[in-house]
Symmetry: D2
Subunit: 148 residues, 4 copies
């Protein structure tokens, strides 16, 4: 999509998963890195009761967390394991009710990886379904040191 030269991945799915487990022990087990590709990363929310609202559907804050983690990992996959990018904006649309008691899949796509800002969007699905449940765009501020 982008043409920026530094968009080639430096970390694969296993390396991102290891980073998540070691640096975010509280939430690392909630998420699985399914895939890293030329557009960004795909992350799975391993649904448990803690993520659910009455009725068995995943809560809005949990979907926000999924989009945020996925885009953060997409940035790290290009910059390497430096845990400093900071979310500055997220605009999220909730479009459909998620399937009950079902994992969610988030495809995060990098659109810009600049010197001070990274921008991307994320599409969230209930596993096995075609129609997106939510859509988010996110911006991150990148501290000066991270870009080498």
């Amino acid at each position: 999509m982008s043409g920026d030269k530094f968009m080639k991945p430096q970390m694969d799915a296993a390396a991102l998963q290891a980073f998540l487990t070691s640096d975010f022990p509280q939430v690392g087990a909630d998420f699985s890195v399914d895939r890293v590709d030329a557009d960004g990363v795909t992350v799975r929310l391993n649904v448990t009761d803690a993520h659910l609202r009455p009725g068995g559907t995943v809560s809005g804050p949990t979907m926000f967390a999924l989009a945020d983690v996925a885009m953060y990992l997409a940035i790290l996959s290009r910059l390497g394991p430096v845990a400093l990018a900071v979310t500055t904006n997220c605009s999220i649309d909730f479009m459909r009710k998620p399937a009950a008691n079902t994992d969610m899949i988030c495809k995060a796509r990098l659109l810009k990886l600049g010197r001070v800002l990274a921008v991307g969007d994320a599409m969230i699905f209930s596993d096995g379904q075609d129609a997106p449940v939510a859509r988010a765009s996110l911006t991150y501020s990148i501290p000066p040191k991270m870009m080498g």
Copy 2:
């Protein structure tokens, strides 16, 4: 701010707190309804370890949840205890690092309460500080039956 006639509160802080405790048992204890006024409501996040990132600061998803709960309660304070308004969009800006291990205060303000959509904004502060940590705007879809 608004001029809409139906903006007068139907539920006070104690009634909203009771609703939160009974209908959202998983998260009800996290939030305290501090105030209901002509603009909207003020909700406190009672910070515990579960809300914190390494370093003791409240996580982004937790601030999203705080803004979402506060605006939802602002809508209910006008419409009465009908638990059906659905978040359709949230755009949130994270502007400053929260104070460590400190409660957060969210002032949610209703800007529109229409037949099918409600819109408002929310400002989030670390308790005792003047500079806002985050700012959110939120839209809710209101099912036909709710407006009586």
Copy 3:
């Protein structure tokens, strides 16, 4: 992308262009409908001096207008020539400087076409370039009568 049954186009590019010319005479000449497909529509901004900032780049409000027109036409392409959908939200990220004195291309994609709300996103490029200049997500309110 979506799976909604009513996503099949009812109007082609020529029909949308004719609608734009007749119903929006002030701005119709600014835009060309390049394509209607299964995802949405592609609309071109025919750049003139009126759209430019000093330096020859297209202004932010003009890109906003391009995204808004394109998504509106994407909705009409599915619902037929009923000029009543109303923009309720737009979140737009400006990511790169546009190429000077160059047409812009907007690919608008429908993500939801519900009874009361339509949601989509749009990617804006300088004609002939791969890296997106801007990205927008838009929500429209659909009056009851429009859905037949």
Copy 4:
């Protein structure tokens, strides 16, 4: 609201108006700077036929332009006449139909003025009415040299 020390205005309404006229000759006459205060600035859209949709209401792109100009001037009022801040994001909610053939008033409020990012929100009214027509939040990237 903010507490940042550099939030004190360096330019008054007349100085901002003179800057707008000289540096943005194409649109300068559309806007009047009504007021500069501790929160930000108030800018008026001098409505003409060019801003109107059929029915006499101000178009969405024109309201976007009003919010963008007002926040840009709010930043300049603090930083001085350096015409380089760049809009990176705008999320705008259109909440009510504007009054026909009526000037619009935009109150832009600075929420953060950091080293690399400025954030604020804007409320747009039809002149003489209490209920807001639109609400926007905006982020600007500030080039390194601007902060002295």
